[in-house]
């Protein structure tokens, strides 16, 4: 059936979580949020556009940093309340300059940094 972004399940702020995964390697890069229009723009442009909760504005990933996410495929989960974005990431996905945001592991009750800036 034709896809309508409004058919997704959004939270009370009108947002849905979107997980970005590197399409080639399966690396989970980051998680951010989208509203219905961000979903529509992402599909239209083939470039990932989030909604920034802190800035309350569209966040076209890479516009400032150059670290663009090119959409390979968008997937919807069984409850329609979470998105999985298969992407090709240019440069670092994380604002700290790391390839992905999940660089802190919990090992033996301690926080361990497992990746540095690229």
């Amino acid at each position: 059936m034709p896809f309508d972004p409004e058919s997704l399940v959004f939270n009370d702020q009108g947002l849905i979580p979107a997980i970005a995964q590197e399409a080639e390697t399966g690396e989970v890069l980051m998680m951010a949020w989208m509203n219905a229009e961000a979903v529509a723009r992402t599909l239209q442009e083939g470039r990932v556009v989030y909604w920034s909760r802190s800035r309350q504005a569209f966040w076209r990933k890479g516009d400032t940093s150059g670290h663009v996410q090119t959409l390979v495929e968008m997937r919807v989960d069984c409850d329609r309340d979470c998105l999985l974005l298969q992407v090709r990431q240019t440069g670092a996905a994380c604002h700290t300059g790391r390839r992905n945001c999940f660089y802190t592991a919990l090992r033996d009750g301690e926080e361990v940094e497992i990746a540095g800036p690229m």
Copy 2:
């Protein structure tokens, strides 16, 4: 430094999103929610425990279905408001009987089912 679950950033319902990823293959299985105690129990037991928003109760994955998630490693993102769980999944992660929850892809404006029940 020693890890304290309370140091994570929870939403106004006291919850944090947790992405479960198959440790061996990188497959993203599902996304669900945890409160601080679910995080602590998961680390303690080495078995994933979520917080069910619909049932408002702890959800020890696999207790009813047998589809247990064994924790390989928990990771925290840069903003401390999202978790990545590296797991070993027994059977289907999705309640529909599919290996993962993201079995609906958006292709050429249509929803396409890309995986069936195991």
